[in-house]
Every structure is written in C-alpha cells, then in structure tokens.
Symmetry: C2
Subunit: 250 residues, 2 copies
C-alpha cells in the first residue's frame, strides 16, 4: 500500500540531502497550474524553505485560468511567483523561422509550434536560475515535474520539460502524485484538474489516446494484454529515442 505520509517524508529527506551535499541555494520551476508542478513546488517549499523556491508562470497565448491556479499554489505554500510572458518571444521566434523556411502553411508547423513552448519555458527556468545564483551567490537549480506515467509513454518534449536538475516525481504514478498532493495540501482545484498541456485544447489523456490509470497498471504488471495495453506499449517503445542518444563508438 502506498503511504503518502511516509513517501512525502522520504522525498523531503531526498531533497534536503541533495541540497546539503551540493551546497545549493534554491530551486526554480515553472508553475503551469497543473498538479505535477503544484506538488513539486509544495514539496520543495517544505523541504528547503519557501524563501528558497521561485515559481514562474510562463504564459504563451495562454488561458488566464492557469495563472489563477498557479497563484493559488504559490499562496498556499508561500513561495515567490514570477511571471514571464513568452507570447512575444514565441511569435518573434516563429516569424524568424518561417522566413527561413519560406513557407506560409501553418498546418505544416503544428508540431514545431507545440514543442517550441516547453523549450522556451525550459530556457526561462534556467535563465532565472542562473540569475538567482548570481544574485544570491549560491547555486539555484531547476526542478523537473514529470511523473512516472508520463515518462513511461514519452509524454514530454525533448529539450523542454525533460531538461532539469532534480526529479522527484519520476518514480510516482499519477495516482500517487495526487495522494501526495492531497497529503501536503495542494489546493483541490489544482490537484483534481484533468491534466492538459494548456496548448492544444485537449486533455493529456485525449491526446495520448490512453488513460493514466491504465499506464500505471501496465507499469505495475496489472495490465498485460488488450488494445489499451498494446497502445501503451507502442507509445513506450516509440519514445525510447527520447531517453538514449544513438552515439558512434570507435
């Protein structure tokens, strides 16, 4: 049985030890308004102190609603919340890239466009982390928010949310993340929101075509055949290139 209290304490210990061993100053993370970033921000605030946590909202043609949820997480745990609006950066980027490609058909740029945003968000977190390191004269790192189910099916952007310096949810299923979030008091509307990327208008499960609960069952060996199993294993197999770079060896 998954024990949220026990697991939370072990995670806090893991974070504290890493910060102490490496003499770190603080942590930066993007706050999407979803449950994963809410739980990580909460855990970090409890582990190293809210004054050493910087959350960033990174809207990019985004819904105002997501910001409201980010603010409620920041208020709950008391960490500082910055805002960097990426809309103009994103649009300038796309306009320069389109000039280079000499194309005007936006349907050909759908994937380019969707994955640009998490990459700009990653760059933003590292920009702020390096600035905070200089200001505080102690290293700030960037926290990742991917959970075990997302990682299993490769549901992340390479060079985007996959780039970070510490990962605390990577071994926890979505259900386990929710239990920890409830235990540490992440606001209800955040912890029980259907996860989506805030970009495509679809929930994650609609985009993936599989349910997170079934991904957890496949990971735990409780689902071993059938259409949903096949879909999940296909996603898993097809995302292996995101984890290992093929490298020529002499």
């Amino acid at each position: 049985m998954f024990n949220p209290e026990l697991e939370t304490n072990k995670i806090l210990e893991f974070i504290r030890k890493y910060f102490k061993d490496n003499n770190l100053g603080g942590v930066v993370l993007g706050i999407s308004g979803g449950k994963d970033s809410g739980v990580v921000a909460g855990l970090m605030s409890l582990a190293i102190g809210k004054e050493n946590v910087i959350g960033i909202t990174l809207p990019c043609h985004s819904r105002e609603n997501d910001k409201k949820d980010a603010i409620s997480v920041a208020n709950k745990f008391g960490f500082k919340l910055l805002n960097i609006d990426l809309t103009e950066v994103n649009d300038t980027f796309e306009s320069e890239a389109k000039k280079a490609l000499e194309i005007n058909d936006d349907s050909l740029l759908k994937n380019s466009s969707i994955n640009l945003k998490p990459r700009l968000r990653m760059a933003s977190c590292y920009y702020i982390a390096a600035a905070m390191s200089a200001i505080k004269n102690k290293t700030y790192i960037v926290a990742g928010t991917s959970n075990k189910c997302e990682l299993y099916v490769g549901y992340f952007t390479k060079g985007g949310d996959s780039v970070h310096d510490i990962s605390v949810l990577a071994d926890l299923t979505v259900e386990e993340v929710i239990k920890i979030g409830e235990y540490i008091g992440v606001p209800d509307e955040v912890i029980h929101k259907a996860p989506d990327d805030g970009l495509s208008g679809l929930t994650d499960e609609q985009k993936l075509g599989v349910k997170y609960s079934n991904i957890a069952k496949v990971i735990n060996g409780e689902l071993t055949s059938g259409e949903e199993y096949d879909k999940i294993e296909k996603l898993h197999k097809n995302s292996s290139h995101k984890f290992t770079i093929p490298t020529y060896k002499k």
Copy 2:
C-alpha cells in the same frame, strides 16, 4: 594508430544504418562555422546525401565572419543552408526576463545570457526538424556536434547543444575530429580555426583554462598527475550533474 579513412567509413556506416533502421528522412544541424559542426555536416552529407541535410546558421549578435565559414562548409558539401537570426528573439527574451527579475544590473545576468543562446539554437534546430518532417512526410532528426574532449570536461550547455538525436563525434578527441575533417575535405580555414563559442570573445581553451590536447591525454591515460591534470579532473567531476539527473526512487 587512428586511421581517418577507416574511421570515416565506420561512421558513415553507423549513420546510414541508423537512418535506414528508423526510416528517417533527413537531418538538421546548427552550423557555427567551427570545426565540429563542419565535420558533422560533411559526414552527414556523405552518409545520407546532401539533399537530406539542412544546416542552419543561427546568428545572435554574431560576427559576420562565422557565417562566411558556415557558407564555405555548405558550398563544399552541397547541403542547404538556412539562416535564422536570433538577435531579436534573444533580446525580447532577455527584456521579458529582466522585467520579471526586476533587476537592471547586467553583470548578474552574464551566465543567464551566455547559456540562453545555445538553448535558443537547440529550439531552432528542433523547430526546423519538425517542419521538415511535416513537409517531407518523413522524420528529420537533429545532429549533435560535441566531441569527446568537450564532453569530458562538461563544456556544453545543458538544454542547449547537449540536446540532439544522434551523436557522431562524442567518442572522438579534438585531434581525431581534425583528422577526419581533413580526410573528408572540410575547408582548411574551418578545420584549423581555434574553437570558441562565438559569444565571449575568448577561445574555448582560454575559457576552460586547459588545453584540448591535455584533455585527450587524460582520457587516454597519458597524463595522470600535475596541475593541468588536476584542473581537468576537477572540471570532469564538477560536470557530472550535467549527465545524470538526481531522481527520487520509492
């Protein structure tokens, strides 16, 4: 003894096999005007055909000279060269980030600023690769250009040049990269240029404080003590966090 002809043929075979096994359409890479990207672009053109290689110059407050060298590489191997000027994207990004930080002291943003550029370059390569995949209806991937010496001392930007889909120089020292470049005919002025980041005005070796030839000696076990050895091993040890993300396990 390192045999450039033999090694080149093995690399070409490695690239061809990976493209065939994964039914890939082509490759995208940033062309800095330096030797590493010149050699990778040449190898890719020879392996999969110049018509399937897209080079991109990604100037960002950059010297015109670097572009001249990029053009001479593209002319030599015949691949298409796009240009995306990142100056305005970069400046818009920095201006938004500064607003969030509420600081005006640029000296505190030196590291933020230096590492932003490779991250924007990475995002550009992936943007173009995804667009080409849609246009050609066959997957384009992004090639990395790091060599073994750079990797050994962690001389790359996490989330920048470290993010790519295929790596052909990662097991070759700088000297070996030069030999391969000479063998495949990378233009002289490119292959024998002192490597630098095109950003700080210093060469790589000045920035690192160690010589690439000595890094190769440490890797090969020919240099095992002394001040230079200590410096190199310290850089190596201090960059280990760039390779493995500390991850909480249940």
